[in-house]
Structure formats: C-alpha cells, structure tokens
C-alpha cells in the first residue's frame, strides 16, 4: 500500500481524494500501476459495484500480481494496455458512449489522472461525476516551457528534458489542459552550474 500525502502547495497544483463507491448504472475505472490498489479498496466498499464496471488498467511494469487481483474482481469489462497512449483510443470510444450518470474513477499516477481527466471532460462528463485518487509513484509529467516537449515519469529535480536536453527544474505550476507541470531551465543565469538531481519530495 502506498498512499503519499502531498504537502500543501499552490492553487494550480491538483489535489486528489479517496475513491468512494457511488450509485449509478455504469462505472468506468481507469488506473495505472499501484492505482489498482485503489480499485481493490473501492470494490471492497460495495459488493455490487464491479459487475457494473469497465476497468481500463495500465500495469506500467508494476508486478505484484495486481492484474490478477483486478481480474479476480470480475469487472463487467476488463482491459489491460501496454501504455496509456495505447489505451487512449479505447478510452475515447468508451467515453463517446457514456450515458448520463456514468461515474468515472481515476487512480494511480498524476500523469494518468490528468490525461484521463481531460478525455473525460472533453467527452462532456461533469466534474462532479469524476473522482481521483493518487497511488504509487510521485513521478510527474513535465512540459519543457522552452521546447514544449513533454517528459514523462520525472522523479528528480532537476531533470533533463527528453526533447531539447536542457536541464530543467520542477515547478508546482500545473496546466490541466496539458496535464503537465512546468519545467524551466535551471542554469540560465549560471550556465553549467546544475545541482545534483534529488528525488522529488525527498
């Protein structure tokens, strides 16, 4: 079980809750890695829930038999994808069918929740029908403000932009549209003076 308490931050930085089973005929759950644990906890709250649920799961290399345990919940539909990008067409297809009252549950890393949140709101799902819960890695999806490239899974500050190679520091300023935090050149005023990367929140 890994549930990280994010320290209080600035107003653009998203916050996450704890999934609660809600009444409804249809439920869509999108999770990656340890996000599976949040679905397991959710299923334990409500015995009838999983029979009405479609689970979309991206294991992202997290072993520990989480896939098997999710499958064991016997969701009405279960899909496992090799990456979030690979799952997107399916997520869009499912959301395009959504009826009034669909409940959406997003859990796992911030990058997954942020991107899936955009898909859900773009499909017209009201914010009040979407819940989020962070589990697992505190890795961030970062946009380089200079080249605009997105670097996934950033766990250190500073880090190297995967696109332009600049050394970037990690800001808490967050764009929901991009589902990404902002990375800014750390050695602009003292070229070459790049501090050693430290783990986020360490």
């Amino acid at each position: 079980m890994s549930k990280f308490q994010f320290p209080e931050s600035i107003a653009s930085r998203p916050t996450y809750g704890s999934l609660k089973s809600r009444p409804g005929k249809a439920h869509l759950m999108i999770a990656d890695a340890e996000g599976a644990e949040a679905i397991l906890d959710l299923a334990a709250q409500d015995a009838g829930l999983m029979a009405k649920s479609h689970v979309i799961y991206i294991p992202s290399g997290s072993g520990a038999g989480l896939s098997e345990r999710l499958r064991g919940l016997k969701p009405a539909q279960y899909y496992e994808g090799p990456s979030y990008a690979a799952a997107v067409p399916r997520i869009r297809r499912v959301l395009s069918d959504a009826h009034m009252g669909l409940q959406v549950y997003l859990c796992g890393t911030e990058g997954l929740m942020g991107q899936a949140m955009n898909e859900a709101t773009a499909a017209g799902i009201p914010h009040s029908a979407i819940q989020t819960e962070h589990r697992g890695s505190i890795a961030r999806r970062m946009q380089c403000v200079h080249c605009k490239g997105i670097t996934e899974n950033v766990t250190t500050d500073p880090f190297v932009c995967a696109h332009c190679g600049l050394n970037l520091f990690v800001r808490d300023h967050y764009s929901r549209r991009l589902a990404a935090f902002q990375g800014v050149c750390i050695d602009a005023e003292d070229p070459g003076n790049v501090p050693n990367p430290v783990e986020l929140y360490k």
Binding site: I10, A11, S12, R13, Q143, V145, H146, K148, L166, R171, D172, H173, Y174, S175, R176, R177, L178, Q182, V184, C185, A188, E189, D190, P191
Partner: protein
C-alpha cells in the same frame, strides 16, 4: 501633439530610448515610499492631459518599434497568440473596441469608416488601409484578435466569464514579465495567479476577482504592476528564459544606470459587449534607472522601495541577486528628504537632490 516615432530595438543592440517627454509621463508605480501588494484598482476614466492614463489605449513614441518587435516574436513562436475556439466573438469585440477607441482618441493617426458590416480601417503610422467585413474572418489576414493586437502596444489576455469565474481563454503575449500564455491558457483566475507569493494569503485575489466580475461595459478599470528588467528587453518570456536569463548577470556598477530598467505595466480592464468577456490589456513601459533618477522625487522613492521590499517579492520579481548593486546605485540619489505623496514627478515643487546635507 504629433508623435515622433522612434527607430529603435528591444533586442540585440537595444537602441531603445525614452525622450524627455516619455520620461516625464512615465507611469511611476509608487505613490508612497514603500510597496506591498494590494487591490490597487481604480476607474479608467482618463487622466491629466499628456499622461499615459489620458487615452483608453495609449500610443507613444515606441509604437512602431514595439509592433516590429511583436512581429519578430510571433514569427519565431506563433503560440504567443492563441484563442480557444469559443473565443472568436471576443476577438471581434476586441477589434471593435480598439478600432473605435483609437480612431476617436487619435483621429490624426487612425480612422474607422463603417458602412453596416463593411468596415475600412486606416492605421497611418503602420501604413495600413484595409477594408473588411465585420464578423467575417475570411476577410482578415488572420484572426481578429491577432489582427488588431499586431497593431496595438501591450499584451492582451481575453478572459471568458462563466460560473462566477474568469478563464484565460485567449491572448497575445509577447511583452510579458516571465509568464507563458501557452502554459496558462484555459486556467482560471486563481490558477494562473498560483505562483504569486503572499497575495493569496492576503485575500487580494479573492477581492480582485469580485471587482473584475462586476466591471461593466463602458466603465473600464485600471491598475499598475511593476518588476525589474536588465536591458530594455520586451520579450522576457519563460519560453526564451534560457537565452535572456544570462543578461541579468551582466550588470556592473558602471553600467547599471543605463542597463537596469524599471518595468511598469499599466493594466486595464474592459467589459466586451457581445461576448461578455473581459479584455485585459497589459501595457509595458520601460525606463532606465539613470532616467528615473533624473526626477529627484522618483530617485529618492525608488531607493526606499527597493531597499524595503520583502525578500519574497524581490525573489519572485527576479532581482534579489542584483538588489545590493541596485541599492548602491540608487542610494546616491536618496538624500533622506521626505517625498510628496502620489506618483507624479512634481518637478516644480520637489527640492533638487542635496547629498551634502
């Protein structure tokens, strides 16, 4: 008066200069000897003749050079002008407001002739004489917001108003104090202000938003904001920070008077008629320290403000490292005399500098 437009640059050789006229009308942002964030808003209902507050959209000697600089920035990075799909009508509102105001306030420079939807716009300084159909995008070379803001000094954010909130859903931003439209577009009032220190805790943004939601058509408002910039660089964008950040380290005691600039934003707020959006022009004025201290009152006061500014603000504004050198320079222009209240230069009434006192 007729304006002589300067031939000058805001990059490379930085040939930007303020004339004596521009110095005397500079919007000095400090009405007293100290500064802290506040809900500093007032009606935008003109001001003393010749001041930057007099007209709704001030045009000054830097007009043509600023428009050239904007064209360079937009050519390098088209993402500096963006409009979410639902904001096109607000773009037309903006075009109409600016064309109307400029042709009324500067009839010798701008003309707007309307025949129903057929409009003719004449911008004499830029050599533009263009007929188009209002609300028909195919008759303009680009979107309406981009079209008119390529001809108007200052950055522009266009805020959609819904759910008792303002959303930054369009803009043209090339003379910004280190924030990114591309990153902030789509955010709400509290989200895009998230990086600002102290002001959230002081309740300033809550009160400011309440005020803005109630700005009415025909009753614009305004406020001043300020920061510091080394070299008269208009495009202090985060996008290009890895290129310009190094310039902050080039100050020396010998060049600081010419290189260090106070950067003041005259921010105005206009309600737009059709879209009910809020137009937020952010007009940037730059002045070198050596020109500020030519006004004794301003030299005295700037020294005291910079000296006493909380570290959080000096850090956020990006000049904490240069503050000691600024104080060494500005201290030479502060003889300790009291200053008159208000922002005006008061050249006739304020005593000259007297360091031998």
């Amino acid at each position: 008066m007729t304006i002589q437009f300067n031939k000058e640059t805001f990059r490379d050789d930085y040939s930007f200069r303020n004339s004596d006229w521009a110095i005397k009308r500079f919007p000095f942002p400090f009405h007293e000897d100290s500064y802290m964030y506040s809900v500093n808003m007032e009606q935008h209902r003109g001001g003393p003749p010749g001041s930057v507050y007099e007209k709704r959209f001030d045009v000054d000697e830097h007009y043509l050079a600023e428009m050239e600089d904007r064209a360079i920035v937009l050519a390098e990075d088209p993402l500096r002008c963006q409009s979410l799909p639902h904001m096109t009508l607000a773009g037309w509102d903006t075009l109409e407001l600016i064309m109307t105001c400029k042709s009324e306030d500067y009839p010798d420079l701008f003309e707007l002739h309307r025949d129903g939807k057929r409009w003719r716009w004449v911008n004499k300084p830029m050599g533009i004489d263009h007929s188009f159909t209002f609300l028909d995008e195919t008759t303009l070379p680009c979107g309406p917001l981009e079209y008119i803001t390529r001809q108007t000094q200052g950055d522009f954010a266009v805020l959609d108003q819904r759910d008792e909130m303002l959303w930054m859903d369009a803009g043209t931003v090339t003379t910004q104090a280190d924030w990114s439209l591309d990153f902030d577009i789509g955010m709400n009032f509290f989200e895009w202000h998230a990086p600002v220190p102290m002001a959230h805790e002081l309740g300033i943004f809550k009160r400011a938003l309440k005020f803005l939601l109630n700005v009415q058509q025909g009753a614009p408002a305004r406020r001043l904001n300020w920061t510091m910039t080394v070299n008269p660089l208009l495009d202090t964008s985060p996008e290009n920070y890895h290129k310009w950040g190094i310039q902050k380290t080039t100050l020396t005691p010998e060049n600081i008077g010419a290189k260090q600039h106070l950067r003041v934003e005259l921010q105005t707020f206009f309600r737009l008629p059709r879209s009910n959006a809020l137009l937020f022009p952010i007009r940037c004025y730059l002045i070198a320290f050596q020109d500020i201290v030519s006004v004794p009152k301003w030299g005295r006061r700037l020294h005291r403000v910079v000296r006493d500014l909380p570290d959080e603000l000096a850090t956020y504004k990006g000049f904490i490292a240069n503050r000691p050198m600024m104080l060494d320079y500005l201290g030479q222009y502060d003889d300790g005399r009291p200053t008159s209240p208000g922002i005006w230069p008061d050249l006739e009434t304020e005593p000259p500098l007297d360091m031998g006192r």
